[in-house]
């Protein structure tokens, strides 16, 4: 018997959305497939890797272990809500705090949740906070440094290097 669909209302990245879900569906599936927010990654689908971390009412949660129906009326924030001007994102870029980038969205959301609670977390606190987010490329050092820099309001060790310019306004030359 196919499961009956349930209508779910939640706030995702500032938008109120209504989406039909099956009771057995995870928040990860609804985000990635239903809402096409593919920035949240599926690494293990078992709660072991942290790649699917999103903020639920401001708290980092594993979307693969969260049933979508438990999110009724709640506020979800995914990596799509961040921009490159975000000091945390910028610090990741400046520090080389990611290589393949597959764990990075989850890592960023965990870090967002941490920085919202502790303005200036110590490196030990950062290591504890991201210990559920597995990275296979970096050895974690640059990630810890990037989060620390963002917490201290520094952009990164390359503060002198400007942020890439946003698309400038441009006028076509007169023929």
């Amino acid at each position: 018997m196919p499961e009956a669909l349930v209508t779910l209302s939640l706030r995702v990245n500032g938008d109120d959305v209504r989406v039909a879900v099956r009771p057995s569906q995870t928040l990860l599936e609804v985000l990635r497939v239903g809402l096409e927010l593919t920035g949240t990654k599926q690494g293990c689908d078992k709660g072991d890797c942290g790649a699917c971390t999103v903020l639920l009412d401001g708290e980092p949660v594993l979307a693969c272990l969260t049933l979508a129906v438990t999110c009724e009326g709640r506020v979800v924030q995914t990596v799509e809500s961040l921009t490159r001007e975000d000091p945390l994102v910028d610090a990741f870029d400046c520090h080389g705090a990611g290589q393949c980038g597959f764990c990075t969205p989850g890592m960023l959301m965990t870090a967002k949740g941490l920085l919202a609670k502790h303005g200036r977390p110590s490196r030990e606190t950062i290591k504890q906070a991201i210990s559920g987010n597995l990275c296979r490329c970096t050895g974690y050092g640059p990630i810890v440094e990037a989060i620390a820099a963002a917490g201290e309001g520094r952009r990164g060790k390359k503060d002198e290097e400007p942020l890439p310019a946003p698309l400038p306004s441009w006028e076509a030359p007169k023929p």
Partner: protein
């Protein structure tokens, strides 16, 4: 040169990946797409007597089911040893071998349909353990079914027996490594689609789109002209995506049958069964030396557990010996390596293919020799170092060589002289050094064509597009090529776009393996960029009526020596050049110099246009109560020729050390006697978290390779090798135990400590 090369700075391309605008393979969703699942064999070795899919086919939502008979052609990455079927044809050779595949409306339906397929197996005698494969040849897993041997290599250079007999000291040692997995965070995924004109397109998480293209053509019996392979950016690979996999063929076949796109996404459990991880090896080493520390002979015997299929096994078997003659050498060398088939998930190449395990054994032997000879282990390595611009004992040409500088750097940075042996019981320092290839001169299938090619298309808007076949895995090839082009042409980095790894759009590259990317792609790209640059210079010279050699490129403009006021912006220069020469573009390619390597069978395997060098010092704290080894610091110096993108190079060094230390102290890919994986998930097969990693101190050494692009060599695999033996030697310095079996888990450490106490 306009100043972009060699600058530490932004990663550059991370933002798109970080914020979700990069589309990884599983992020692609095509209209009417079906989802595939594979039914896998539950026995380590079985004959497939009967498959009945009628119940599965009758389920609502199921579009098609295929079995081995639908794809009878064999495939394999090495053209001499194609021994895999997309789905087992008659015999399944390991728990996890594919038997049937389903395409259905969604993943759950496909998984349920797999359960509804009835298979009758006749269980066959199996060799799950390496010992069984060695002692029971009658199981017949080998090509001729007479034994279980996959490949045997015996090579000798110089008179090892005579040299050892005349040595003051000869030490023997046995070593054991049980295998590890790559564990990229992105699982394998493939999507196939056939369009109305009959073109098959396959998007896949592959490091080798070109070889996948060839194998798809062979297995599907479809002209390569009717196949397009696209490799989206990868979420890590580490060698685990460097050969064709069954699901790439089953996705294609099911798309051809159903006329709808089909996606296969591997579960984390399936990842551990697809495997292709680092080979388990048992190594027996004998090394001799004179009293002055001169190494006289190395005699290595290695048994390799290959798992169920050949994979890259032929190369692995050679690499287990061929890559040990650098950076430290002896007067004579002999190795005998045999790879056996077992009924386990197939092994393949993992970062530092075939050479990480023997490097562990050899570097520990050197540490023991140094102790016996009362020599500093770094000094022992110095005395036996291979020189720059020389030839190794097995005939490999060495050009640039930063080995001694690497050793000096880690010696100084770690406080080696002041601290080693003086840190008190429980804490110690250990050293190791190693070398690795920057690609090999031998393409996987013999041919005289380019190994890598890059095409540039120059647009009037001032944008240059780089079409290249290389595979971006996160290691940074796209940014590397963009930077080379931007630097040569004086363009801003964001005016260079890179389109990579699409067989319809991009010229060939053989793949992201053997650490060949920077060297081969980089050279191809530089050759193309310099052709465009010559045209820009010619056009500007003609316009300004100056000789061409007076024009040079700076950031943003072409200038004339002595007439800086006459600068022509690069986008203007592009227009001038297009008006003068017609549409602007260029193709550059790279092929290794001929005749690299030794003049004997197998002498080209391991021959590289350039070798990278690494040295590591590890500092450990051993808890003698619990046996826990805490790797506190690792100093890693690596000679990458020239660091074109220092942030990326440091990232490769950090990542290599991280991965090597994990293999030293806790990762172990264990298969139970029944053929089942001991823990095919990330909780049981634990990879390091942020709380488990040492402080990594990565240092770049630049030897400026004469043939590398702007002097560069590899950095992605070499710096892993020395991590493991450096930790092993540090444990000895800390508590006086020699551990011969990896990983150095608490139980093994305690056992060794107790034996030492008794002894």
């Amino acid at each position: 040169m306009s100043g972009l090369i060699g600058k530490a700075g932004r990663r550059g391309d991370l933002v798109q990946r970080a914020l979700g605008s990069t589309r990884f393979t599983d992020d692609l969703h095509l209209p009417r797409m079906l989802h595939g699942k594979t039914l896998r064999c539950p026995h380590p070795h079985a004959r497939i007597a009967r498959v009945d899919a009628s119940k599965a086919l009758a389920m609502p939502g199921v579009a098609a089911v295929i079995t081995g008979k639908d794809l009878p052609e064999r495939f394999g990455i090495i053209p001499w040893t194609p021994d895999e079927h997309p789905l087992a044809l008659e015999i399944a050779r390991f728990v996890g071998d594919g038997v049937a595949a389903v395409a259905a409306a969604d993943e759950r339906t496909a998984a349920k349909a797999c359960e509804a397929i009835e298979v009758v197996y006749e269980v066959l005698p199996s060799a799950v353990e390496l010992d069984t494969a060695i002692t029971k040849p009658e199981i017949g897993l080998g090509a001729k079914r007479q034994d279980n041997v996959s490949k045997a290599v015996d090579l000798a250079f110089g008179d090892v027996d005579a040299e050892l007999a005349a040595s003051e000291v000869v030490l023997e040692g046995d070593f054991h490594f049980e295998g590890t997995a790559h564990v990229p965070i992105e699982p394998h995924c493939a999507i196939a689609q056939v369009d109305a004109a009959g073109l098959l397109t396959v998007w896949s998480t592959t490091q080798v789109p070109h070889y996948l293209h060839r194998e798809l053509s062979r297995v599907l019996r479809l002209s390569p002209a009717r196949i397009r392979v696209i490799q989206p950016p990868l979420g890590g690979a580490f060698g685990g995506k460097s050969e064709p996999f069954g699901h790439e063929f089953t996705a294609a076949k099911l798309a051809m049958i159903t006329g709808r796109p089909v996606k296969f996404l591997m579960t984390r459990e399936e990842e551990f069964y697809l495997h292709r991880g680092r080979h388990p090896m048992r190594l027996s080493f004998k090394v001799g030396a004179r009293a002055d520390g001169t190494l006289t002979g190395i005699d290595a015997r290695t048994q390799i557990d290959g798992g169920a299929y050949s994979s890259f096994g032929l190369v692995t078997t050679y690499y287990s010996g061929q890559l040990l003659t650098l950076p430290t050498t002896a007067k004579s060398y002999r190795f005998s390596s045999t790879r056996y088939f077992t009924n386990k998930p197939p092994c393949g190449p993992k970062r530092g293919h075939g050479s990480v395990q023997p490097r562990f054994a050899f570097e520990v032997m050197l540490d023991r020799l140094a102790e016996r000879l009362k020599l500093d282990p770094i000094e022992l390595r110095r005395r036996n170092a291979v020189a720059a611009d020389s030839k190794t004992i097995n005939g490999m040409r060495v050009t640039s060589n930063g080995n001694l500088e690497c050793l000096a750097k880690v010696e100084a940075a770690s406080g080696w002289k002041e601290r080693r042996g003086k840190l008190g019981f429980g804490r110690g320092l250990g050293v190791a050094s190693s070398a690795y290839i920057s690609g090999t001169n031998y393409p996987i299938y013999p041919n005289e064509m380019a190994q890598s090619a890059v095409q540039l298309k120059v647009d009037r808007s001032g944008v240059v597009t780089v079409f290249n076949g290389a595979s971006e895995l996160g290691q940074g090839t796209d940014m590397l090529l963009a930077t080379i082009v931007a630097d040569e042409l004086g363009l801003p980095l964001d005016c260079v776009r890179v389109v990579s790894a699409d067989t319809d759009l991009c010229p060939v590259d053989l793949g992201a393996y053997s650490s060949r990317g920077t060297f081969m792609n980089g050279n191809a790209c530089l050759a193309a960029a310099r052709q465009v640059k010559a045209k820009l210079i010619a056009a500007v010279a003609a316009k300004l009526e100056v000789p061409e050699d007076a024009v040079f490129v700076t950031r943003g403009a072409l200038c004339v020596k002595g007439r800086e006021g006459d600068a022509v912006p690069v986008d203007e220069a592009i227009k001038l050049a297009e008006a003068r020469f017609g549409a602007l573009g260029a193709v550059g390619s790279y092929k290794t110099p001929p005749k690299l390597g030794g003049e004997y069978r197998g002498g080209t395997i391991g021959a590289s246009p350039a070798y990278s060098f690494s040295a590591h010092v590890a500092e450990v704290q051993v808890d003698v109560e619990t046996g826990v080894v805490d790797v506190v610091n690792v100093w890693c110096a690596h000679d990458c020729g020239k660091a074109l993108l220092p942030t990326q190079v440091i990232g490769q060094l950090d990542g290599s050390v991280y991965m090597g230390v994990a293999e030293a102290i806790f990762e172990e890919h264990l298969i139970s006697p029944s053929g089942l994986h001991r823990g095919p998930n990330l909780l049981d097969y634990r990879i390091p978290t942020s709380l488990d990693v040492p402080a990594i101190h990565s240092m770049i050494v630049e030897s400026m390779d004469p043939e590398g692009p702007l002097g560069a060599k590899e950095a992605g695999e070499g710096p892993l090798h020395s991590s493991i033996p450096a930790v092993a030697n540090a444990i000895y310095d800390a508590v006086g135990i020699r551990l011969s079996r990896l990983p150095f888990s608490p139980g093994r450490v305690l056992e060794a400590l107790q034996q030492r106490g008794r002894g």
